[in-house]
Point group: C2
Chain length 222, copies 2
């Protein structure tokens, strides 16, 4: 029996997701809640990166996490162990979250006292990129084993992200991954993206990432 609460979120009945997302963002601004939308392929390391991020920041700010999945609650169990407020969102087969689903998730989480809320989106490089969730910033994780050509193949995802974390740098020696070519491919899609190589397993690069979050949360709540 899982200790984490599971919420079945329902897709919006409203046609205009962009307007819903803007309204949610305005509401979050008023409440001082910074919402980060974290995306990646399956298995790129969202949950491990998030656990490291919570570990680094939880003494400074109140953190809440929404774990979105088609099914299962394995990630929510992992995150709940960090001590962060956690809720599991089940999407009922949907490949993404829209602003309405995110809003339901925030209500389920009870986010009014949360300073940094993180939505761990469904593992998918296509659909989540098409829906504004109402987040203040979008971040994605590309892992070394996936290859440096991914920005060419999933252009929308890379173009909408403020930050690209390149994870699993510890296995760089075992893969044909060209970091400079990867940076050039990302820049083709999004010249403004902040690119941070990290290793969630060893902690490498996590400081640069959490420094970014500290600045952004402070600026949003100012």
């Amino acid at each position: 029996m899982s200790k984490v609460r599971i919420l079945e979120v329902k897709q919006s009945v409203f046609a205009n997701n962009d307007a819903q997302a803007e309204a949610l963002r305005a509401d979050l601004k008023e409440k001082g809640v910074f919402l980060l939308n974290l995306m990646s392929s399956p298995g790129a390391g969202k949950t491990t990166t998030l656990a490291r991020t919570i570990e680094a920041l939880q003494d400074e700010m109140k953190i809440g996490v929404m774990e979105a999945d088609i099914d299962s609650d394995v990630d929510a169990e992992t995150i709940a162990k960090t001590g962060a407020k956690t809720i599991q969102l089940h999407t009922g087969g949907m490949c993404h979250l829209d602003a309405e689903m995110t809003k339901q998730g925030l209500e389920g989480l009870g986010s009014d006292d949360v300073e940094l809320a993180v939505l761990e989106n469904v593992g998918n490089l296509v659909c989540p990129a098409e829906f504004d969730t109402g987040a203040v910033k979008n971040a994605m994780i590309l892992s070394v084993p996936e290859g440096h050509d991914k920005p060419l193949k999933y252009p929308l995802m890379f173009s909408i992200c403020d930050v690209v974390l390149i994870n699993k740098t510890d296995v760089l020696p075992y893969f044909d991954f060209d970091m400079e070519q990867c940076r050039r491919n990302i820049a083709l899609r999004n010249p403004d993206a902040l690119v941070i190589p990290i290793c969630a397993k060893t902690g490498e690069g996590i400081e640069e990432w959490t420094d970014y979050l500290r600045r952004e949360v402070a600026s949003w709540r100012a």
Copy 2:
């Protein structure tokens, strides 16, 4: 300038994809074309596995490949070098292919003389699982870096696949991947799935996979 032809495929205007898929399969049966639908996450190794597969089988049977992507033709260029008949399908942002899009792809490829046609689907563990493409068999690749918990998180994909290839076994020493646990997780979703560990880079396991394809193509064309 790309040497591979690029076709923009359009989603079906028909509501009943299942009926369209059955009709396509019947047509393929009549023509003696075996269609394999190959799916995976981004970067799991579909293209490298496919290049190995073509190398092993191209002296025995006529092979045609449809490379589906949101954008880019990097994979089609790789496959065209193997000598197999190749076409690039662009999905116009769509996260999957349905039976109508697959039919357009087969027509664009010119598949009447092809014995083994392969559809390399969009890299995504969610949406492609929801649409019957008309393929005779569905196969997916799960790569070691993604982790052995993926069958728990993407249940539909694992339940509709006849074969699960576990790729990148060469990096098993560098990841916390439990092969036996992975087999148990797959069996939970699909007790009938054939599971074959492979390494597309070194060729390990490719013989078991191509033997399976030889048998299935022969049986379909009998």
